[in-house]
């Protein structure tokens, strides 16, 4: 399937791409065909800085179970860390 289902958001942070570290400004989240992962469909994450060009990108393709586990792990770690600095 070709869902076109895509979410985009602004983010702050840094990512490490092919040319080293760079600042992140945007992210895309979509469920579609992977480029590399051996599944027919994956949850795809792109961490981007369009101001630096299309190659300023950190890409991740996860099967749906892995994506959900990652999402829960992120939430769990952030909740456990709340109040700490």
């Amino acid at each position: 399937m070709c869902t076109y289902q895509t979410a985009t958001l602004n983010v702050r942070g840094s990512g490490k791409g092919g040319q080293g570290w760079f600042s992140l400004t945007d992210a895309s989240v979509y469920f579609d065909h992977p480029v590399h992962a051996p599944q027919e469909h994956t949850l795809n994450l792109d961490f981007l800085n369009p101001g630096l060009g299309p190659s300023a990108r950190v890409a991740v393709e996860l099967d749906p179970e892995s994506a959900l586990a990652l999402s829960e792990a992120i939430r769990s770690v952030l909740e456990a860390s709340s109040g700490t600095s």
């Binding site: 070709c2 076109y4 895309s28 369009p50 890409a59």
Partner: protein, 247 residues
């Protein structure tokens, strides 16, 4: 017929006169050939779509694939380009039509052209092939599992995709549609709805839906590849283009 070809990256005049990148493949034997505009899938101007373009040339067609992501990501690797274009909402329909028009004009300008040109598109390019065939004069059009020709696209998000069923009266050529029975976008219900629309307009079309195949069954570099469906689909394409694009 020999299958010797020449394939190269060229620059063509696209929408609004913009110079865009394209991949051109043509038979080496002197002769008069039909042309095929190949519209790439959403992953972009990648190795696979260039293989497809060369395949058309090896089968005796002048074939060209415009890089629809030329403007957003010149020189970028295909998956970075595809990600950049997706984040910006995809390829605007009017720009697509202009780029395909430029690609078709490039084919017709070649000395070996017999004047006939068809269009084929895969995945998002399937929808765009339908759009092009409803917007421009073609001699034949092939839609390979194009989603959202009919059916409601997802709400929200950056992707600007609208259904095209209302354009069916303007379809300029015979249409071949190749679909997977296991696909959800387009689903068999979407395909049936498009059939109803085309039949109501008395359009010349034929659809084939392959059991056991889902989306992107032609894509040899992906797990979605279904060799049997792809083999049968290619046979339909050769027969269809052979009938409509020969001298």
């Amino acid at each position: 017929m020999r299958d010797d070809i020449r394939a190269e990256t060229v620059s063509i005049s696209g929408h609004a006169g913009d110079q865009i990148e394209a991949y051109l493949a043509q038979p080496l034997d002197q002769g008069s050939y039909g042309g095929v505009v190949v519209i790439h899938h959403m992953p972009g101007f990648d190795e696979w779509i260039k293989e497809v373009t060369r395949k058309f040339a090896a089968h005796g067609y002048l074939a060209i694939c415009p890089n629809l992501y030329s403007r957003e990501a010149p020189g970028a690797i295909p998956d970075d380009a595809a990600a950049a274009v997706r984040a910006k909402g995809g390829v605007p329909d009017d720009r697509l039509v202009g780029d395909v028009e430029g690609a078709a004009a490039q084919l017709r300008s070649l000395a070996a052209s017999n004047g006939k040109v068809g269009v084929i598109g895969y995945c998002s390019g399937g929808r765009q092939a339908f759009l092009a065939a409803c917007s421009l004069p073609f001699d034949a059009a092939v839609v390979c599992y194009g989603a959202f020709i009919v059916g409601e696209p997802p709400e929200g998000g950056p992707m600007k995709v609208t259904p095209l069923g209302h354009l069916a009266p303007q379809l300029s050529s015979p249409l071949l549609g190749l679909f997977g029975a296991e696909d959800r976008f387009p689903s068999p219900e979407h395909v049936a709805e498009l059939e109803r629309i085309l039949r109501a307009q008395d359009k010349d079309f034929e659809f084939h839906t392959y059991p056991g195949a889902g989306h992107a069954f032609f894509a040899t570099d992906r797990p979605s590849h279904r060799p049997e469906a792809a083999k049968e689909g290619w046979a339909e394409i050769w027969e269809f283009f052979g009938r409509h694009l020969s001298s």
